[in-house]
Symmetry: C2
Subunit: 171 residues, 2 copies
DNA sequence: TGATAAACGGGATGACCGTCCCGTATATTC
DNA sequence: GAATATACGGGACGGTCATCCCGTTTATCA
C-alpha cells in the first residue's frame, strides 16, 4: 500500500471514530471525508460502504473490551459495556438495533464481545449470582435500556445500572 | 366536512394505525395512502405532516391507557404500558426516542400518559414501594429496555418486566 | 529523472421520501 | 338539475445520502 494511502486510511479511521462517537451513525460519509480533509472517493475506496467504515472503527474498542472481559465478573463487565456505549453515541445506536449489525462485525473480526458476555452470564447463573431464567437477549435489552438514560443527568447511568443489577440478581 | 372526506379520513387513520403498529414509523406515507386506496394528497390534506398522522393515530390508545391508569398501581401500569408498546412497533420506536415526540403529542391532546406514570411513580416512592432515587426518566429508559426484548420469544417480555420490577423495588 | 501504476477528489448518479400543487371529479345546495 | 365549493389523485419538487466513476495528481522504483 502506498504511503499516502496508508496515512489517509488512518486519518479517516481516526476522524470517523470521533465523529461516530460524538454525533452518531447518521453523520453523512461526505462529512467525515470533509473533516478528514480527503475526498469522498478516498473514503469509499478504503471502506466500500458506511457499515464497513463503522465496523473498522469498532475493531479497536472491541479488542480492548474483550481483553478486559477476562478479568471481570459478569456484573462488572456489564457495567463496563454500558459505560463504554454511553460515551459512544454510534455504538449505542448500533447496539440499540439501528441497522448496523455490531455482533456480526465483531465476531467476524475475531473479537466477539457478545461471546464473552454470554460466557460470563452463563457462569454467573451457574454460581447462582444471576437469576437462572434470563437469557443473553434479555441482558442485551436491559443494556439498551441503560443506554436510554438521560445524558444530561450524570448520575442516571449509575442508577440504571444499579437497578438492573439488582433486578438480575437471584431474588 | 363533506361525507367522502370524513370517510377517507377515517379510512386513512385506520390503515395508518395498522401499518404503524405492525411495520413501524419508517413506512412511507405513500404506502399508507396506497393501502387506504386514496391519493397521497388526500392523506396530507387531512394530516399535513407524517407526525400529525402518527399523533392522530396515537390519540385513541392514549385515551384508553389514561383511563386504565386510574385503577392501577405503578407496577401494573408500567407493565401495561410495556405490553401496549410491545404490540405496537410504531409506538415502541417513538418511545425509544426515534424522532417523534410522543409525550408532547399526548399532552397537547389532553391525555398525558406520562403525567399519570409520573404521579404513580411519586406515590409509589412515597409509600416506599419503589427506590426513592429513581427518576421518571430512568423509568422511561427501563421501559425502552423492555421494548428491546426478543420478539420471537413470547416469554421474554414477562422476564424483562419481572427483572426491572425487582430492580425498582426498594432494596 | 521519467515511466507507470496507484490513489486522489469531488461531481454525477440513482434511490428514497415528505410535502405541495393543480387539473379533474364529485358531493352538496338551491 | 345546474352551480359551486370542496375534495380527490398522483405527479412534481426539493432535499438528503450512499455509492460510483473518471480525469487528474502523485508516490514509487528502475
Amino acid at each position: 500500500m502506498r504511503a499516502d494511502a496508508q496515512r489517509n486510511r488512518a486519518r479517516v479511521l481516526e476522524v470517523a471514530a470521533e465523529v461516530f462517537a460524538s454525533e452518531g451513525l447518521s453523520v453523512p460519509v461526505h462529512e467525515i471525508a470533509r473533516r478528514a480533509g480527503v475526498g469522498t472517493g478516498t473514503v469509499s475506496r478504503h471502506f466500500p460502504t458506511k457499515e464497513d467504515l463503522f465496523a473498522a472503527v469498532l475493531l479497536d474498542r472491541m479488542r480492548e473490551l474483550c481483553d478486559r472481559a477476562d478479568a471481570l465478573t459478569f456484573f462488572a463487565f456489564f457495567a463496563t459495556l454500558v459505560r463504554e456505549a454511553a460515551a459512544n453515541r454510534g455504538l449505542a445506536e448500533a447496539l440499540s438495533g439501528a441497522g448496523f449489525d455490531v455482533e456480526a462485525a465483531a465476531a467476524q473480526a475475531g473479537h466477539d464481545v457478545s461471546a464473552r458476555l454470554r460466557a460470563l452470564l452463563a457462569s454467573a447463573q451457574e454460581s447462582g449470582e444471576v437469576r437462572p431464567d434470563v437469557t443473553y437477549a434479555d441482558v442485551k435489552a436491559l443494556m439498551a435500556g441503560c443506554l436510554a438514560a438521560d445524558l444530561a443527568d450524570p448520575a442516571a447511568l449509575d442508577r440504571l445500572v444499579a437497578v438492573v443489577t439488582a433486578g438480575l440478581r437471584r431474588s
